[in-house]
């Protein structure tokens, strides 16, 4: 029944529209949901696409992916997920083609250059039930996403010891789970930086307090003052850059610096979907940061001064890798210097630029 078909397509389109719009207006809480919705939408895209060859499938994915990415450049999770799925398709294709699953590393390497063995470059050969296998693989990915937070929280006790003073900033779903998990077994104290002008920190503090964890709210200016008494900093992040740096909530840089100054270890809880193949080369890099309305910094009523002064309200901050001690990801703890390796595991180099 074609009518049903077309309706399906419309519905999908509409979903994509809405998602794109929500992205644009930042009305989605937390990059987990972003990633999740991206994957599930792209899953539908693939499911509905009639094309048989891997090439076409990949193209359609890229097309929709680009559209979503354009909606909100700074939401890296979208791009990451698109790349993940492309990788999946490539692998499934390769394995289907060669009969054996192509072992891990798609990166170029001297070794390969010497042995003159090339990558599969053409994906146009039709493969029978490619779609099915791909969809399965994507389901696995979805499951991975769902469990990521728990996996990370699971490692809590490895990192938090008895009555520590832990400092965290903003409201990261992962960190919240992490701390609460730890609190089941151990007693410790948490300092929460409120993170004006969004005040997610206060929200976190509330929920921790409800979970009966001894919590103190401090404002952003007190970080350095308090840091000398903190013995672990645990923060979430929005993105892990390719060089192991962080794109995290505003103010993280100051926190990281303070931690460095008092040589307090800085742990970053980040699920793997936050890993981006992009590098940061300058603070003013395009599409790195996100600038929202200055109304949070200064009310519009006060525009009389505002009109004569530049008022910016950046959302993110860059933390260079040397300030990070450890990443706690859903696949275990890693040093920042290892991130590049993870990259080559999750993404295909050809997909870095979509």
């Amino acid at each position: 029944m074609p009518s049903g078909e077309s309706e399906k397509v419309d519905e999908l389109n509409e979903k994509l529209d809405v998602f794109a719009r929500d992205l644009k207006h930042g009305s989605i809480e937390g990059s987990y949901n972003v990633a999740f919705r991206t994957v599930s939408l792209l899953r539908i895209v693939i499911a509905q696409s009639k094309c048989t060859t891997a090439k076409d499938v990949m193209e359609s994915v890229v097309k929709e992916g680009k559209r979503l990415i354009a909606a909100q450049q700074s939401e890296t999770a979208v791009g990451n997920m698109v790349r993940r799925i492309l990788k999946i398709i490539r692998e499934e294709y390769a394995s289907a083609l060669r009969g054996k699953s192509e072992e891990g590393d798609p990166q170029e390497s001297l070794h390969k250059m010497l042995l003159a063995e090339g990558q599969i470059k053409d994906f146009s050969q039709p493969v029978p039930n490619l779609k099915a296998t791909v969809l399965d693989a994507i389901n696995e990915l979805i499951i991975e996403l769902e469990n990521s937070a728990d996996n990370i929280a699971g490692q809590a006790l490895e990192h938090i010891h008895a009555n520590e003073v832990i400092l965290t900033a903003g409201k990261s779903r992962t960190v919240e789970a992490f701390l609460k998990k730890a609190a089941k077994k151990r007693k410790f104290q948490v300092m929460v930086v409120e993170c004006a002008p969004f005040y997610h920190g206060q929200a976190l503090a509330m929920s921790l307090a409800r979970a009966n964890i001894e919590t103190t709210v401090i404002n952003d200016s007190a970080v350095f003052a308090i840091m000398s008494r903190v013995n672990k900093v645990i923060i979430g992040t929005h993105t892990v850059m390719a060089n192991g740096g962080l794109k995290a909530i505003n103010g993280s840089h100051a926190i990281a610096l303070a931690a460095k100054h008092y040589s307090v270890p800085l742990l970053v809880c980040a699920a793997m979907f936050k890993l981006s193949p992009k590098y940061l080369c300058s603070y003013d890099q395009d599409a790195f940061n996100k600038f929202v309305s200055p109304k949070d910094v200064m009310n519009f009523e006060e525009g009389e001064i505002a009109s004569r002064a530049q008022i910016d309200n950046p959302v993110f901050d860059y933390v260079p890798p040397e300030l990070v001690t450890l990443y706690v990801s859903n696949i275990g703890g890693n040093a920042p210097s290892y991130v590049y390796r993870l990259l080559s595991e999750f993404y295909h180099p050809d997909d870095h630029e979509l």
Binding site: Q107, E108, S109, L110, H111, M113, L114, L115, A116, A242, N243, G244, Y279, C281, S282, D284, Q285, S337, Y338, V339, Y340, R341, P349
Partner: protein, 303 residues
């Protein structure tokens, strides 16, 4: 094919294409050598090549590159020979793969140029050292994508190679300033990033490069400026220096110097070693790598 044959071939290569990097030239020579020599056993082949490499290292051109290239070539042979025990067709395959390899690395410079672009923004100020063809390539591309940036070039004694760079930049109409080697500390606060080439990239992820690079690294670190290295992957050398002392002498001094002068205290070393901790990123034809990724590469290759 004897010593002179090798040398003459090598020198002719270098002469006819100055933009050709020494390492490539070396590999070409070795391939050439391989083709025109009749060899019975694998062992013999190895020994002969070793000699050849030895000979090449005694030329005045950068020992580091040559020896790294040599290493690579030997490795290349062992890898192939594993697959093809029979020496004859092994040799054949070696030759053709060799050429494939050469083709691959020919456009590695362009690759690097592309990758580096995202790191050069409009209005950047760049400090570079001595002369590196790759660096020039990068800057050229940046210029072509009409970015506006300024370059400081160290004059880089003793051979004033910085001056050449400066002139080339002038020809490309890239605004540049020539500075004293001693002025590095002075300009560093004006600079947004340091961009240098490398003669060799060692297993630690550090680099061996024209003397003075280490100083750049130190100052850049002190002022929290990014320190980027551009290097083709065939410059990866299987070597793990601990510090400057630990660098083998034939890297640090010309062969003839080593022969002639008894005490090296009075000689200027040509290169120094910059440890990985001072390097932010390396742009290679294998992609943008962190220092630790380099050792990974080498491990994959040699172990």
């Amino acid at each position: 094919m004897d010593r002179d044959g090798i040398l003459s071939y090598f020198n002719s290569l270098v002469k006819e294409d100055p933009s050709l990097s020494v390492a490539v030239a070396a590999i070409k020579t070795l391939l050439h050598f391989l083709e025109n020599n009749k060899i019975e056993t694998l062992a013999e082949l190895r020994d002969r090549l070793k000699e050849a490499i030895q000979i090449l290292t005694e030329t005045d051109s950068s020992t580091t590159s040559i020896s790294s290239a040599g290493e690579l070539f030997l490795r290349f042979i062992t890898l192939t020979s594993l697959e093809h025990p029979d020496i004859q067709d092994c040799q054949r395959i070696l030759v053709e793969r060799g050429n494939v390899f050469l083709n691959k690395i020919k456009n590695s410079r362009q690759k690097i140029g592309k990758q580096a672009q995202q790191f050069i923004r409009d209005g950047t100020t760049i400090l570079t050292h001595s002369k590196s063809r790759v660096v020039l390539q990068v800057l050229k591309e940046a210029q072509q994508s009409n970015k506006r940036f300024h370059v400081y070039v160290t004059e880089s004694l003793p051979n004033k190679s910085g001056l050449e760079t400066y002139n080339e930049l002038q020809d490309m109409e890239i605004p540049a300033t020539l500075i004293l080697d001693a002025a590095v500390g002075y300009v560093m606060e004006k600079v947004d990033m340091v961009l240098v080439g490398a003669e060799g990239v060692v297993e630690s992820g550090g680099i061996i490069n024209k003397i003075g690079t280490y100083t750049l690294g130190l100052t850049a670190k002190a002022m929290n400026k990014p320190f980027y290295v551009v290097a083709e992957s065939f410059k990866f050398a299987r070597l793990y220096p601990l510090n400057q002392q630990d660098l083998p002498n034939q890297f640090k001094y010309h062969a003839k110097v080593l022969k002639s002068s008894p005490d090296l205290m009075k000689e200027h070393p040509l290169v120094d070693y910059t440890p990985p901790s001072y390097i932010t990123l390396l742009f290679t034809d294998l992609g943008v790598l962190t220092p630790s990724a380099v050792s990974d590469e080498l491990i994959k290759l040699y172990c």
